[in-house]
């Protein structure tokens, strides 16, 4: 018990004094997971909308792939990305091993399928009558898509948050491809594992609280957006 109280006390002190290592890890986490999620949104939302609304060959297969991708094991993704970017690998020229780019790549592969799959579900969940009405009212194809996206924006936001929440909590792939380099690729999760293994529980607790705080803040924001938009 003493270990826990001692650790908590030190954790609070580190957070209040804005400990430099803590800020570095938090910012590394936000930059990598933020970039990976942004890339996933830019590519995944249009693809998900196309899969949800479109009618084309291979659509079923792509949807099945996206759904499978939502459960990709991070360590498997870490392994594949690592062998690709090792200097001996096909993308070795990039020299990305142990860099933030490597972490972003792995996290993108983990977040994108979730965002594609959930966006497809979101746009499909809109009342089919609305789609008919839009056509009947003479909306162009692009106008219809824009309106449907607008209608499903809260569900898409939830999809984005699910993707971000998954990658910012992730450690397996990020450690394998990013290593755990201090001040660079040391993100909150890998720092927690390292401090715990060094027996520095205060530092580990502080990092864990910051991680939980970030996840809580984002979920609070999502919930607020959802509730605000609810018809009174």
């Amino acid at each position: 018990m003493e270990l826990i109280f001692e650790g908590l006390r030190e954790a609070v002190a580190r957070i209040l004094t804005l400990d430099r290592d803590l800020l570095e890890a938090a910012s590394a986490s936000l930059v990598t997971s933020g970039s990976a999620t942004s890339l996933s949104v830019v590519t995944g939302v249009p693809l998900g909308a196309a899969l949800g609304l479109g009618r084309f060959r291979g659509r079923g297969l792509l949807l099945a792939l996206a759904n499978t991708g939502m459960g990709l094991p991070p360590v498997a993704v870490g392994l594949f990305v690592a062998v690709f970017i090792w200097r001996s690998g096909p993308a070795g020229q990039l020299e990305w091993f142990c860099t933030r780019q490597a972490i972003i790549t792995a996290q993108y592969l983990l977040a994108a399928p979730t965002i594609v799959g959930l966006t497809a579900v979101a746009v499909q969940s809109i009342d089919p009558m609305m789609r008919l009405q839009l056509t009947a009212l003479g909306a162009t194809r692009l106008q219809s898509i824009a309106l449907l996206m607008r209608e499903s924006r809260l569900l898409i936001l939830t999809a984005v948050m699910a993707g971000f929440g998954a990658v910012i909590s992730e450690i397996g792939a990020s450690l394998m491809v990013g290593c755990n380099i201090k001040g660079d690729t040391r993100i909150l999760t890998t720092a927690i594992a390292l401090e715990t293994s060094k027996g520095e529980f205060g530092a580990a607790f502080a990092l864990a609280f910051v991680l939980l705080g970030i996840i809580f803040a984002l979920n609070a924001l999502t919930t607020w957006a959802q509730q605000r938009a609810r018809p009174q």
């Binding site: 270990l3 090792w86 200097r87 020299e95 091993f97 142990c98 450690l175 290593c179 755990n180 380099i181 201090k182 001040g183 660079d184 040391r186 890998t190 720092a191 390292l194 293994s197 060094k198 027996g199």
Partner: protein, 250 residues
Amino acid sequence: MRLGVTTTVQDSGLLDALVADFERRSGRKVRASVQGTGAVLSLARRGDVDVVLVHEPAQELEFMRDGYGAQRVLVMYNDFVLVGPPGDPARVKGRTIVDAFRAIAESGATFISRGDRSGTDVTEKSIWARVGLRTRPPWYVESGVGQGQSLVVASERRGYMITDRGTFFGRSATLDLVLIVEPLPRLPNVYHAITLDPTKVPAADRVAADSFVAYLLSPGGQQLIGGFGRDRFGTPLFIPAAGLAEGSLP
């Protein structure tokens, strides 16, 4: 039996061989927690392991002084060497270890540190202290991972690094690294097994711990240690040292 052991023993491949042989002879099952020396000793203080096999004398002696250890015995040793990229960009080959570190610092070549208070990390920092490096310049990269993975980081980033000979030769086939400096006098990397004091750490299984230590010191255990790696690397990775005094090692 719960064993706390350092990453160098696992990453060199010796741990798997030792555990398999001990399990076969004793009929006991081994659960190994693999971390740096500092972390392994803190597991031991909390009673989360029964016996430890570690390699950082200063931390071990503090552990004994605090009364947590019952028996501390010398098991085996090898030495620390400086490895680096094949081109030796900082031109340190042939220098003494302190001169080599100074040349690395002056050239700004990448240097990989474990940064985790392991036996390797403590040894490395003691050399930097002799050079007088107190800041953390950008070329000084703290990998924050175990010995084997840190060597991969050094290989990928073309960095210099201090490593124990065992892990380096155990992994060298897949690394783009070569031996650069073999310090003389040697930088000893000495492994001790420590059993835990029953009053300070009542959770530890003393009988299991004693049987493991007895195995490590037995002719069978010492033979396995001395022969490990000879067939694959042409050189033993660890030198058995049961019964020797620490001060008498070559």
